[in-house]
Amino acid sequence: MASDAPSSTIQRVHVWDLATRVFHWLLVGLVVFLFISGKTGGNLMLWHSRAGALVLVLLVFRVVWGVIGSSTARFRAFVVGPKQVWVFARQLLGISTRHTVTPAEGAATTVMGHNPLGGWMVVVLLLLLTIQVSTGLFANDDIAMEGPWAVYISKALSDRLTTVHRWNQWILLGCIAIHLLGVAFHVFIKKENLISAMISGVRKIDGSVQVSVLRLVSTWIALLVFVLAFVVVGFVVQPIF
């Protein structure tokens, strides 16, 4: 993204750690594959369940990383109250707020990580994926495939959870569409390239903006968390791996 402003007024801030970026794009790839394989069926169903288990690994990793990870990855950093979300949304759309914006609220427009709206989208997507994966563990397709835990419950309950699995995919798809629209809004209207930031980890921000200090946690720790999540999920969801 070439800018008209001299480079001295642009600061490059490393906002996303490698772990969060790998998590994001791995999840994108898996979700795309899961949708396709879920629609195709046949021999892809075995890989559908394996990919689903891998999503569970990613979810476990992300929840842990949301507590011990880099400052932009932590839930505490981006899950904010409704008032902040409201103020942020109005600022974003250029609607003046009735009261004077306090510095703390003003900072919302230049938050380094997830903004108040995006932060809640992260929570919603993680919750929907959790519903999708956990119902998938108990689901059956009435053909020759069932989730590894379907054997532990009645067929009737498995059928009901399968129905949730089928409906929730569209809710998930809808929220992914909103997520993409939000990103498109930032890229095309606000001229902030969030996509390149999620790839390189670096955000280009106007030099005049006061940037709070971000603490990035080592990728090795992230790898350790990921491996532990993999082992735990692999152990619990044994029949898949």
Binding site: T40, G41, L44, M45, L46, D142, A144, T163, P239
Partner: protein, 152 residues
């Protein structure tokens, strides 16, 4: 004379009885039962082939060949149970769209039977790899109808 008359009456009665049976078979609730039974058995004999194709059970060529043979017959049995007379029946997950798109539905049913024939041929040939491929194609043909014509 009386004997012959009696014989005629008995044969007429048997004949009527047979007709009555044939008529009873066509009752919507029996048609629903018929297709559910056939599809249940298809699931029963298809399941182990799937588990073996996916490596969840050790491959047993004898079981695969036997089951695939059963499936060849069973795959023909559900379809004449899908008649418009059953469209309003409550205890079924079959969508009423079936009876508006009978051509498409029958084509999908024939596709499934054709895939089962391939599965059985692969099983008889003792070709485990071909069985796995054919299993996937049969599964897809099941899914095509489940997705289009079955209520959640």
């Amino acid at each position: 004379m009386q004997k012959k008359f009696l014989l005629a009456v008995i044969s007429l009665a048997i004949g009527l009885g047979a007709m009555w049976d044939a008529a009873a078979q066509a009752k919507p609730e029996d048609q629903v039962k018929q297709r559910k039974a056939a599809l249940t058995l298809i699931g029963k004999y298809f399941g182990p082939i799937g588990a073996m194709a996916q490596g969840k059970l050790p491959y047993d060529a004898a079981v695969v060949t036997r089951n695939a043979g059963y499936l060849e017959a069973l795959s023909k049995m559900p379809w004449d149970g899908f008649t418009a007379a059953t469209a309003d029946f409550k205890e079924t997950r079959a969508k009423p769209e079936i009876y508006k798109e009978m051509d498409k539905f029958n084509a999908a049913a024939e596709k499934m039977q054709a895939e089962v024939v391939k599965l059985s041929a692969a099983a008889k040939a003792g070709d485990q790899k071909a069985v796995t491929v054919a299993f996937g194609e049969v599964g897809k043909s099941c899914k095509a109808c489940h997705d289009a014509y079955r209520k959640d």
